[in-house]
């Protein structure tokens, strides 16, 4: 059998098309960034305009100007555009009902990602930079979010007060400083300036060690706005030895399913040369390996 020959072949027709009074007027208006629909005999508005409606009735030649926005009636996301598509990056095809019209226009939506596309979404028209009197004078549509940006930005100088300053200075030196009302004897870490049980000033500073009891904890598995760590991670309440109020910190160095209430933990500090006036000097608390303490010994602090 003889070999089958093959060669590339391009088919082109350099046709021109007459547009007529209805399509022609619509396309001409696009040059001036004017979007028009045509009224049907029964009072509906078609955009893009047609010479006849679907009942075969001639439309009225009465044009109405429309807002350059609309609603998506159906859509299709194209992740890999084909040759001839209006974009060479991912985009959506859509049927768009222009506001004030009763039919829908086929066009493209420049939405960036598929997740932004939804039937019923609002879109606004984006005009092409250069107009040629064709449907592509409409470059595309783009999502119209029903939100205004509303950021708040205010600048303050804060200071933490005398007692908290003492606490933070202590941390800078690798120490935990608490406060005590000499009469009541309860030690608050960090110091609060007053004992909330007596209302007396916590006039004495007390240093407590960086070792204590994990009284309760939670494992965070959900992401949220502003989160610094990747879930899952454990956050716990630690009552340091000699303190009567807990501090809160990350619990690590132990599998999550082995973390338990009553576990003895100690601080894991950053290298000394990185210490600041911050609890972030401590990376996390980790088990000491000592036996757990009984529930009754810390139940008051829960």
């Amino acid at each position: 059998m003889s070999e089958i020959l093959s060669a590339p072949y391009v088919l082109e027709y350099t046709y021109t098309r007459s547009t007529g009074p209805v399509v022609g007027r619509f396309l001409e208006s696009l040059r001036y960034e004017v979007l028009e629909g045509v009224k049907t005999a029964d009072g509906r508005v078609l955009c893009p305009p047609l010479e006849y409606d679907e009942e075969g009735e001639p439309t009225t030649n009465e044009f109405v100007q429309l807002r350059p926005s609309g609603t998506v009636k159906s859509w299709s996301w194209v992740q890999e555009p084909r040759k001839g598509h209006p974009f060479d990056r991912p985009f959506a095809w859509a049927l768009i009902q222009i506001d004030g019209s009763d039919n829908a226009m086929v066009h493209a939506v420049d939405a960036g990602k598929a997740k932004r596309m939804k039937t019923g979404m609002r879109v606004r028209l984006r005009w092409a930079d250069e107009k040629k009197g064709t449907i592509r004078d409409i470059a595309c549509f783009e999502p119209m979010a029903p939100f205004l940006p509303g950021p708040v930005h205010l600048e303050y100088d804060v200071n933490p007060g005398k007692h908290y300053s003492a606490y933070l200075r202590g941390l800078q030196e690798g120490k935990f400083i608490g406060g005590r009302d000499p009469e009541a004897g309860k030690v608050y870490v960090p110091p609060r300036g007053a004992d909330p049980m007596t209302g007396n000033p916590t006039s004495e500073y007390v240093e407590v060690p960086d070792v204590g009891v994990l009284t309760t904890f939670t494992i965070i598995r959900i992401p949220f706005e502003g989160q610094k760590l990747k879930p899952p991670y454990c956050f716990g309440a630690i009552v340091l030895d000699g303190a009567d109020s807990p501090i809160y910190h990350l619990i690590s160095g132990v599998p999550h399913d082995e973390i338990r209430m009553g576990m003895r933990v100690k601080a894991n500090w950053k290298p000394r040369d990185e210490w600041e006036t911050s609890l972030e000097n401590i990376l996390y608390f980790e088990p000491t390996g000592e036996p757990d303490v009984p529930f009754d010994s810390y139940k008051e602090h829960l």
Binding site: I4, Y9, P48, S74, Q79, R82, K83, W93, T119, I135
Partner: protein, 353 residues
Amino acid sequence: MRDVAIVSFSQLPSVKAIDAADEPELVQPVTADAMKQVGLTQDDIGFTCSGSTDYLPGRPFSFVAAVDGLKAFPPIRESHVEMDGAFALYEAWVRLLHGDIDTALVFSFGKCSLGPVPDILNLQNDPYYVQPLGLDSISAAALQAQAMIDAGKATERDFADVVARNRRNAIDNPNAQIKGDFSVDAMLEEPYLSSPLRKSFCPPLSDSAAAIVLAAGDRARELVKRPAWIRGIDHRTEPHALGQRDLTTSPSSTLAAEKAGLGKGKGKLDVAELHAPFAHQEIILREAMGLGEDVNVNPSGGALAANSLMTAGLIRFGEAASRILSGDASRALAHTTNGVCLQHNLVAVLEGE
């Protein structure tokens, strides 16, 4: 009205590419075979009609070249539609109703392997408002599929179920291109071509050709024991602009089926061969024509298993008629669509005697 029947059917297996065949080479085997099955030659044929589109081979007037696949001397009565061959069958049926001839040959050929078919089909769109945007056929169908999902009429899993059933049916069809047991879950993992359409929800593109011989009245009874009588046939079309239609319904199919007598006559439908290139379109067509679970839809595998453009519709007629000719079915429906998103639909009801 004169009774007209399908008396024979021939097709080339639908494959990805038939390299070694130009138009006459595609047409000659199927027309010769369809005539030979009933002992006829071109000299016995009263009217010949074909369906094809020149844009597939990219050759203007390729349909004229196809006539070289026939014996056309002395000159024959011949016509052509730039549509699926099923619409050529409709024209031949109308021609037989004139009463002066008793036989007709219908054929079509589609060679999808030569050009960029999804882009060629953009030429079906409105040249003012849509063509300049480059709306390919897969993206147009995707707008329809998404509308189905938004209307709560189907899910992607429903689309995959349609594909799995058709391609499983095609296992028994030696002429189908894609066949086998395909996993619905695996289909749902495929990337989108144009969302929500994944590759499996779209038809293959095939090269093929098909031919049918029609005969009227007693001539049909002479040629075969059990002609597949065309009890009713009708086609209807909807507005061209996609934005003027509810894409989730097919009122043209509903009306064509009604006018073809689907609801009339004796009893239940055994088989329906639907020309639904995209999976979601079968769901639309079944609803539009009221085809329940008891109807055996696409035992051949349909267009999701073999899709030679301009031929896949005529093959639906041939597949439906074959089951009547063989005695396996008493009443069958054949359907063909044309245009973007099921714009235009042709329905026939076929019966044995």
